[in-house]
Amino acid sequence: MNEQALITDAQQGNLDAFNTLVLHYQDSVFNTALRILGDEDQAADASQEAFISAFKSIASFRGGSFKAWLMRTVTNACYDELRRQKRRPTTPLEPDAGRDDGEEMDSPRWLADPNMTPEQKNEADELEHAIQHCLNNLPLEFKTVVVMADIQGMDYTEVAAAVRVPLGTIKSRLARARLRLRECLQGFAELLPASYRLEGGHAAQ
């Protein structure tokens, strides 16, 4: 995929070129939104909004990391979604039965990994829920940075470009976010399955 050529075409209004970029980045975008918002439906809505807004403003992209630029659009869409939630808190119409004891059977990850036994799946789900719970407790600006750096694997400069704060601020936020997450996850230590025990003897205790 020649990303630069696709971006140039998209900037000239070529929707097919942009859609090729969408297909390439949609999983990263969705995962970022999912970890920031903690809800799949909201994350899907935010991702869609992010891509629409990205297409409309792609002319303003002036080079650099396209992923960082896209991540900025996603985080903005997530912030909009969170603001909307604050204004209009909603209660689900149906009780979310699948939430407490794991994912529903048609969860995309479950379909993507059919070799997992139900026990392994439960362990993974527990860990995932624990991490998501701790992420949800982080301040938004910490969460954004840690999601981009540690979940999306972006380097410091990319994160700084996406969040538009100095590199030093990124380092500081990332360090504090990691420490807070570790402290939060210690509360789940006994719930975590053996395969996910934290590294190092000190941390596992």
Binding site: G13, F30, E199, H202
Partner: protein, 234 residues
């Protein structure tokens, strides 16, 4: 453990420290178990986050043209056609006014261009009134066939004026010389009338054809450009 140490440890974990800073931190780690403990905590948190499963997008987020409100782009030559409506209206009025002024224009042109051209017109107005009654009156008593021919021709004088005149021209030699002359005059004036009535709509029709061809060519050109730009867009 201060904030600065925390940041240095986190950056060290990501390999973001300069070699000299790394060396300094590593020597401190050998003597400070608290630093080691925090480094382990940070590493553990990072490992957990990295192990978090990457979900697949629940659906494709590809955009449709409707979603982004895209319309086919206008052809590049569009600005040239932006005033087409104004131009068409102007041409319409010009054509109308030329048509409305055409008879006067023609008359003044006839008078000015040559006196000879104006003469048949004068004759055409005067001749029928002056010559017809004597011709009819003289023809009636002299010959019955002439009367019948005139009577036959009477219901359709407008349709076949020339034939009526020629008939009379054939008949009249029997009756009078003066009538023959008159009939010849009438014949000439009618021919002149016809000759004049043919070029009258001829001049505007050239322009009409030019305008019509221009309009059709313009419309085809515009449609072709529109189509090609839509195809390119698709």
């Amino acid at each position: 453990m201060n904030q600065r140490d925390l940041e240095v440890l986190s950056a060290y974990l990501d390999g973001q420290l300069s070699p000299s800073d790394s060396a300094r931190l590593e020597s401190r780690l050998k003597t400070d178990p608290e630093l080691v403990s925090v480094l382990d905590d940070l590493r553990a948190a990072r490992t957990l986050l990295r192990q978090l499963p990457q979900r697949r997008a629940p659906r494709n987020f590809t955009l449709t043209r409707k979603m982004v409100g895209l319309n086919p782009p206008l052809p590049r030559a569009y600005p040239a056609f932006r005033f087409a409506t104004t131009l068409a209206t102007l041409l319409f009025f010009i054509t109308f006014s030329v048509n409305a002024l055409a008879p006067q224009f023609q008359q003044s042109l006839g008078f000015e261009v040559g006196g000879g051209a104006a003469e048949p017109e004068l004759f055409s107005v005067q001749a029928p009134a002056a010559t017809e009654p004597p011709a009819f009156a003289d023809a009636a008593p002299t010959e019955a066939p002439a009367e019948s021919v005139a009577a036959d021709a009477a219901p359709q004088p407008t349709a076949m004026p020339t034939s009526e005149a020629s008939m009379r021209a054939v008949d009249t030699p029997v009756a009078k010389d003066g009538v023959v002359g008159n009939a010849d005059d009438q014949d000439q004036t009618q021919v002149a009338n016809e000759a004049q009535s043919v070029p009258a709509p001829f001049i505007p029709s050239v322009w009409m054809i030019v305008f019509a061809v221009g309009a059709i060519v313009g419309a085809i050109f515009m449609a072709a450009m529109r189509r090609s730009s839509i195809n390119r867009w698709k």
